[in-house]
């Protein structure tokens, strides 16, 4: 085998190996990242409870945990105290929660829920005081579809999806993940 042929073979094998190693790396905790890099969050615009537009791109520069939830979803309700805690812990460091309600009747259900329902956060009775917007099927489609709730996406400061969580978030894990983005 000539030296040139060997060099080509070595290069090809190295490329194959590096690709596969990158793929191995992506298969750990970060569920939805591509091997090549983080996927951009979709360009979506929500309505807030007052009817004003809130675009996800307007939050660029902040780390955002987009949390799809509904009032009829018990697992979603169970993680709300932890999400209030995340907002308390990290809001001053450039983080925000963004709760996206998938309730069919929107504000009619949400308004009383948000203002009346209290959650035990470290022994204190708290309302859901982080930003809440209304979701639609068109919006979830842009995130690749929503099969279950809660589903959350951790968005980096530059608008990339750093991680996707299906089901109730593990509080310690999500704290680590947020800290790694701040």
């Amino acid at each position: 085998m000539s030296y040139v042929k060997c060099s080509w073979l070595l290069c090809a094998a190295a490329l194959l190996a590096s690709g596969a190693l990158a793929a191995c790396g992506s298969s750990s905790a970060k569920v939805s990242n591509s091997a090549a890099g983080l996927q951009s969050a979709p360009d979506v615009t929500f309505k807030n409870l007052e009817g004003a537009d809130v675009s996800l791109s307007s939050l660029k520069g902040k780390v955002v945990l987009v949390n799809f939830w509904a009032t009829w979803c018990d697992p979603c309700r169970s993680e709300i105290p932890a999400l209030i805690g995340l907002q308390d812990k990290f809001a001053s460091k450039g983080f925000t929660m963004l709760g996206v309600s998938m309730d069919d009747d929107g504000v009619k259900t949400l308004d009383p829920f948000i203002h009346m329902t209290k959650f035990n956060v470290g022994g204190e009775q708290r309302i859901m005081d982080y930003p809440i917007v209304l979701g639609t099927d068109a919006i979830t489609d842009k995130f690749g579809g929503l099969l279950g709730m809660p589903t959350s996406y951790l968005i980096s400061r530059d608008g990339k999806i750093a991680k996707k969580y299906i089901g109730v978030v593990n509080e310690q894990q999500v704290i680590k993940d947020i800290e790694s983005q701040l």
Partner: protein
């Protein structure tokens, strides 16, 4: 040139092992994805009489098999914000609904609700419609559309509420026509509950 060949072989083998591992990990993640809301239950529809003579009561049973690991709220969940399971017929002229029979759910606790039980259906549940064919029921084959609505969850996530369209096929006969009792194993068992 033996050494470069060995290096190529070793690097290629490493790549192959890693690629297989990556593929398996990706498949494991895919299997962890929740199924669609409509796919976590399988339904079968049964009628208690064939044919159904005018003037007679008959029943429809919808047997719902719920995927292992999933539950759905019963017809009477313990909290008003939860979406109950319902079975709603769209009755043709001459057929009336006497009652819809929902079995009681089971009170179970889940990891997301360790202190407060939820009233749910798991595994298999049979819902029944008690109907009667009146004198004005149209003779011959009739299709009765029925909608099953439920909202299912597993131990950590919920699927959106879903409406499953079902069809009940019955044959309406003249009053006094002899009819055969169908599926006594389903109707006798669910009546006893």
């Amino acid at each position: 040139m033996k050494t470069p060949v060995r290096i190529v072989t070793a690097v290629t083998a490493l790549a192959a092992i890693c690629a297989i591992g990556s593929h398996r990990a990706a498949r494991a993640q895919e299997s962890a994805m929740p199924p669609s809301a409509s796919s976590v239950v399988k339904t079968k529809v049964y009628t208690s009489l064939d044919p159904v003579p005018r003037g007679k009561e008959f029943q429809v049973a919808v047997v719902v098999d719920i995927q292992n690991g999933y539950h759905m709220n019963s017809h009477k969940p313990l909290d008003s914000y939860l979406i109950p399971t319902t079975l709603t017929p769209q009755l043709p002229a001459g057929i009336t609904l006497a009652d819809t029979v929902y079995p009681p759910g089971k009170n179970l606790k889940f990891p997301f609700s360790p202190d407060k039980p939820l009233n749910v259906y798991t595994e298999r549940v049979t819902l029944r419609l008690r109907l009667s064919a009146g004198d004005s029921a149209v003779l011959g084959d009739a299709s009765i559309p029925v909608t099953l609505r439920y909202q299912a969850c597993n131990n950590s996530a919920c699927l959106p509420p879903v409406k499953i369209p079902l069809t009940v096929e019955v044959k309406i006969a003249a009053a006094g026509t002899k009819s055969k009792t169908m599926h006594p194993e389903i109707f006798a068992a669910s009546s006893a509950k």
